[in-house]
Subunit: 210 residues, 2 copies
């Protein structure tokens, strides 16, 4: 199980510093949507320069113009890109193809999409399905304790990512469903000691995997 | 009827140059998603510096984290921001509120969303509904001649924007449905003479409005 650290709502320098300080515990480093929209591709380039050997996820949340956006991310050094499952199927199909062409992976973000609709993308070789509770949803409706259970019920064999509101309190439960990737953001980045907190998430994952 | 020029897949300098050369014919200048994701907020800031009195649209295509993304755009000088209708309703409601707080307008982008689903956003004061055929869809399925007709059938009184594949050939038909905004991109930016082509779009609109 991979631990992905989502870096959002900070400067590039802060993001690089947090990523560096947590590198032992974190598998995948995510350049968050807010960094990409605030600083552009420079946010990905800077992370790649700082961490040449790390898997870097560009949370570019593509809805259209997928070849252009993905190539922009790949050229800047991303290994994994995100694509909205709510995008037109022409965009999704093309995005999976473009990523395969570059030997890269797509996280298909199910934000506000019923799982049922994306069955056809469930077992693609370079696709991870991301069951995602949005930040704005969390603030309105609260974290739903059973949110991650729903994803585990369907499509056995699919590689899942879980994102949205993961904390030291609920991660054990989420990890028990054995997703391929657990995505944690502010629970680490807003912690007093991000490195130590990332280590705690890592230990939780190791417990589940033991 | 406003003519909005969408600037995509070019450098900031080129975008500013095209915007400047077409300023007599174009009402709203759109900093495209690809510019925001490639160059970040600097793309909006540069356009605002170059055209201090123009209405600037930031095609930020927000799916989540809406207050942060919108404030980023407003601080950089945007007057109008885009929000995906496919986003969670918590994001849409909050986005409309944040924009109202700043006295700004939201273009709610209906890419891959059935019109029926967004009836509740149809008559909000600071919202324009954008009937949008994606670039990737255009390349796969071709421009559908009757695409814009469908939008005009529902929700009378709504302010519409039409986007996606508008050309000198089909704009008269689209304009005949009297949208609030016609969004034109590559038909102008890829023309040999963008200024002259923008003028032709303006004349088409004036014909319909006469």
């Amino acid at each position: 199980m991979k631990l992905q650290l989502a870096l959002d709502r900070m400067t590039i320098d802060s993001a690089v510093a947090v990523a560096r300080s947590t590198t032992e515990s974190v598998d995948w480093v995510e350049v968050g949507t807010s960094l990409i929209k605030e600083y552009g591709k420079e946010s990905i380039l800077a992370m790649r320069r700082a961490l040449p050997d790390k898997t870097i996820v560009a949370d570019v949340k593509t809805m259209d113009n997928v070849r252009y956006e993905f190539e922009l991310c790949f050229r800047a050094g991303a290994d994994v890109v995100t694509l909205m499952a709510a995008a037109p199927s022409a965009t999704i199909e093309s995005g999976i193809e473009v990523a395969a062409e570059y030997g890269k992976t797509v996280i298909l973000d199910l934000l506000n999409c019923p799982i049922e609709d994306i069955g056809r993308y469930a077992n693609r070789e370079n696709v991870i399905l991301c069951w995602h509770l949005g930040k704005d949803e969390q603030e309105t409706t609260g974290i739903q304790a059973n949110f991650f259970k729903r994803a585990a019920l369907n499509h056995p064999g699919t590689r899942w990512a879980f994102a949205g509101g993961l904390s030291l309190e609920n991660t054990h439960e989420a990890a028990a469903h054995h997703p391929h990737v657990l995505i944690v953001g502010s629970a680490i980045t807003s912690a007093q000691n991000p490195a130590q907190t990332a280590r705690k998430f890592r230990l939780l994952i190791e417990e589940v995997e033991a």
